[in-house]
Amino acid sequence: MAQPFTRLRLPARVQSVRVFHQFVRDGAAVVGMTSADMDKLDLVLEEILVNVARYAYQGCVGDVEVGYSIQGDTLLVEVSDQGHSYNPLEATPAPDLTLGLADRPIGGLGVLLVKQIVGSLSYRYQDGQNIVSFCFPGHSTGS
């Protein structure tokens, strides 16, 4: 049975990322996530939060909220902000991974990582909020 969300709201800035990591790890522990998978969860969360910190409020201050819900042995995570409508999953074109060192752009890899690690990833704009959500399995058998 679906459980309610546990939520934390902090300023949308890079310095908040580590606090959110600790916060979500409480939920990850409940679903029996391995230490290695917790690091992957940290990575996904960091990439999404850094995008919010950079782009959501366009230089103005604002908050970002992370919520998690235990769904059986899976952790459902939602990241929401009240910035302008912005879908981070489609905002940047996929970087060209065939380019050599001199020509390879140094940005644009965060969303690529998120998409590769998380299978079920979605974005919606609802009630004035950007909401990115994803599921992360607890007892993962994957690599």
Binding site: V14, Q15, V17, E47, T98, R104, I106, G110, L113
Partner: protein, 110 residues
């Protein structure tokens, strides 16, 4: 993240341990920049104790490697493993860096 730099005959060894994330990746940039400005051409990053790297860390590795390439130098990665290795593989970066199991093999390649 903790960085310890040691100058050897042909290169500078940078032992990087801990977690390289959005909050501290620029410390790696700065550490490398110090040695590049002193004329170092080859930097060897010993990553045996690097536990975590995000895209901001990848950005630092790429930017440093590009700077060194422009002076005919290189950023060599050693003992990349675990999640950091997977992150390099997922972003197809492994082919852009010389990589070795040990720092000794990296030094022998120069």
């Amino acid at each position: 993240m903790h960085i310890v730099a040691t100058q050897v005959e042909k290169a500078v060894l940078l032992k990087v341990s801990g977690r390289m994330d959005a909050d501290n990746a620029d410390e790696f940039d700065k550490a490398c920049e110090v040695w590049i400005s002193k004329g170092a051409k080859h930097l060897i990053a010993d990553l045996a104790e690097l536990q975590y790297v995000s895209s901001m860390g990848l950005r630092s590795f790429l930017a440093t490697a590009q700077k060194l390439k422009s002076v005919s130098g290189s950023l060599i990665l050693c003992a990349l493993h675990g999640l950091p290795l997977q992150v390099f593989e997922m972003t197809k970066l492994t082919s852009l860096f010389p990589m070795f199991d040990t720092t000794q093999k990296a030094l022998d390649s120069l």
